[in-house]
């Protein structure tokens, strides 16, 4: 251990002594949650991707800082006219961090592993359209689909679809072995993960040499660590109330960006009285979104009127459909036979956005006669009772998966929303490649959800980041959950 560390340390010290002017090449980044393991193909924990996505593991394609799909391990690809056959041409000279060469057989192995029966891939539906994977030569992969899927390059850009080496696939949980610009160095459990630049990386080498990701579960402790100079960047802060200190300090950059998190007052559409659209519309009128954003999120967050990200080009602003109006809400409730209101429960998972919005929403609903009992719960409990058991009236959660409007078409999904027209729109969308038609269908889908007032659509979760003012290249927005540090550098 000591010997292994003496090397880099000595080089670092000599480097500092020789030229005090040279920019730093190390980065200490703070994260709230420690991931359970480091294999993005075997778990849904966002913290896994927040360490390894783009840094350690790469897929055929990747998502960039502005949310676009870009080539990664696939240099380019072509699509057949019927939209069923994708031919990917792979990059040459790519190696895994353990030295193993990368070729088309690794791609085939990775996807077949994810699709296999008994696979524990958390995003298995991403691979559902794939009917066959052929590897005519080492640098070509031909994927045949069972139905046209315009979003395939997007699907394959997810962390769950990264390419792994067959020999080391089972060890990725503790010793991730990818093709990215950084290789895994060590993981001091409960404390930090250390990454080092990979010397044989196929692409442009990163500017940083050593990246330490420090786990700090308490936001206040993390803000103190930033102030003390123990960490350089804290890209995702769940405590917006602490930001003012940094906004006033020129040593730090405070960056407010967007996430893919639609924060909603999820409603059990199968349970009376919420099965009545008039009741759901009454709730929509009772909600004052701006007051929720101001009160719960310190003003950070964009109100939404349907389940769609305002950053997406096909977004329709439907926030005006149900203006905040307690009188209309009461009239709708009376019309539905609840002139005296009713009682309901609101189950709240741990994040502060849920707990704080819950208090405000309870007060807003009380004004129209709906008496809310707030029930705080842990994630594990929430997942079991609310999400799987659909044993709830109302709950608050942020759906952070990008482009996930399709969940409303799923059978038995926890909203218990069932609308054949909506399902038909989504079904057509999945097989449509024409851009104009897709826009049209996406508009229809957003409108349908808003008209049915399926859930109380609250706001798009903001991403609050603070980092050293001398750092550049960290993502401002969060199109996928990642801390891509491949383009990060110190300006001095």
């Amino acid at each position: 251990m000591t010997i292994r560390f003496a090397g880099p340390m000595a080089i670092l010290l000599i480097g500092l002594a020789v030229s005090a002017e040279a920019a730093r090449t190390d980065l200490k980044l703070g994260m709230i949650l420690e991931p359970p393991h480091l294999d993005p193909t075997a778990g849904a924990a966002a913290a896994i991707d927040e360490i390894v996505y783009a840094n350690v593991f790469e897929g055929l394609t990747r998502i960039t800082a502005n949310g676009a799909v870009a080539p990664a391990l696939a240099e380019r690809w072509t699509v057949s006219d019927d939209g069923l056959i994708y031919t990917f041409t792979l990059r040459q000279g790519v190696t895994f961090h353990d030295g193993a060469a990368f070729d088309s057989s690794d791609v085939r192995f990775s996807f077949e592993r994810a699709m296999a029966e008994g696979s524990v891939n958390a995003q298995k539906p991403l691979f559902a359209p794939i009917a066959d994977i052929a590897t005519p030569d080492t640098k070509t992969v031909v994927i045949t689909l069972s139905r046209p899927t315009g979003g395939l390059p997007w699907n394959l850009a997810w962390g769950d679809a990264v390419i792994v080496d067959p020999a080391s696939a089972d060890d990725n949980k503790t010793r991730p072995n990818g093709t990215g610009p950084f290789r895994f160095d060590r993981w001091v459990k409960g404390d930090r993960v250390e990454l080092t630049a990979y010397a044989d990386y196929w692409g442009e080498p990163p500017t940083l040499r050593d990246v330490t990701i420090q786990f700090i579960p308490d936001p206040n402790a993390a803000l103190a660590a930033l102030l003390a100079g123990d960490i350089d960047a804290y890209p995702n802060i769940p405590a917006p109330e602490g930001l003012s200190v940094f906004e006033a300090d020129p040593r730090y950059n405070v960056v407010i960006g967007a996430t893919e998190g639609e924060t909603i007052l999820a409603t059990n559409n199968a349970r009376p009285p919420f099965d009545d659209v008039r009741v759901r519309r009454a709730i929509a009128h009772a909600l004052d979104r701006q007051a929720i954003v101001d009160g719960a999120m310190f003003g950070y967050g964009t109100p939404i009127g349907s389940h769609f990200s305002p950053a997406h080009p096909d977004y329709v602003d439907l926030t005006g459909l149900y203006p905040h109006d307690p009188n209309t809400a009461r009239a709708l409730l009376a019309d539905a036979g609840h002139a005296d209101g009713f009682e309901a429960t609101l189950k709240l998972p741990p994040p502060s956005y849920a707990r704080r919005s819950g208090e405000i929403i309870a007060a807003q609903l009380a004004r129209v006669g709906i008496e809310i009992e707030l029930i705080p719960m842990e994630w594990a409990q929430w997942l079991e009772q609310v999400f799987r058991g659909t044993d709830y009236d109302l709950t608050i959660v942020s759906h952070t998966e990008p482009f996930d409007i399709g969940i409303y078409a799923r059978d038995g999904y926890y909203f218990n929303y069932d609308n054949a027209e909506f399902d038909a729109v989504i079904a057509e969308l999945t097989v449509t490649a024409d851009a104009d038609r897709r826009t049209d269908l996406l508009h229809q889908a957003q409108r349908k959800l808003a008209e049915d007032a399926v859930n109380g659509f609250l706001f798009q979760l903001a991403k609050h980041g603070v980092w050293n003012a001398d750092l550049e290249g960290l993502w401002h927005n969060s199109p996928v959950q990642a801390n891509d540090v491949t383009g990060v550098r110190w300006t001095r």
Partner: protein, 318 residues
Amino acid sequence: MAPFLLQRSAGLLATLLVASAVIFLVLEVLPGDPALVMLGINADSDTLQALRAEMGLDRPLLERYADWLIDLVQGHLGTSVTYDVPVSDLIGERIAVSLPLALLAILLSTAIAIPVGVVAAAHHGRLLDTTVMGVAQLGVAVPNFWLAILLILVFSVGLRWLPAGGFAGWDAGVGPAMLSLLLPAISLALPQAAILARVTRSSVLEVLREDYVRSARAKGLSQGQALWHHALRNALIPVVTILGLQFSFLLAGTIIIENVFYLPGLGRLLFQAIAQRDLIVVKALVLILAAAVVVVNFLVDLSYALLDPRLRPGVRHG
């Protein structure tokens, strides 16, 4: 002494067996499916089933309890379902942080509290006594996590003398490692020292009123000599009792303090394992914490015998 030890050890084992059953059952009725926690909200139901089978969650309760006990007796704590490494390795890494932290805290708190308590007792009723006890009263009232935040603001953010948290690791050398434990240990130690100082003071005062101290003074010993030679040893019994009780509080305290200082210790492991429903880790940790409390109580019993010969087994009172 041997029958006494044997009897106590049997009691210790029985306590642990009962504790193991309680721990296992309580965690079974806790809502939350570990497989669902791992796979999140987009997982297929057959993916969930596959993971549940892999984790052995589909087997009957008693069978799993029996397996767990048999493994425990053989010294196997099992494999963490989230980290996928042996629980004993995880605990081994973490104990290297928590144990030194707890020992440092106990050391600091006794090193502060006993002299302070004795000095306050010696100056009973005078300004020094009132001042010291006033400060101690404040110390009792201050929660350790709040003190921790205050210490971070002063020594890390303001003065930048000490790190705001994290653990340098023992491979970085004893110096940096101890430095990263210093503020956490002080946060744990000060509130405890305040309680301990008050107990020491009242205990010493009580003993000073005893006949044998008066006799010692009558023989011509000064107040100080009588205190150090005769009173202190007898005054220590209640102090040791409190110290033993404080050890349990210290274990609970480290859970909070380790989170404030983001130290990779047992407390944080426990916290995280509960949130992720890594039940095998939770069970092993809670059992170890229970064992630690039981063993410390056992040691406290032994120390009574050392401090006071009348409490030794085999000595008849009469």
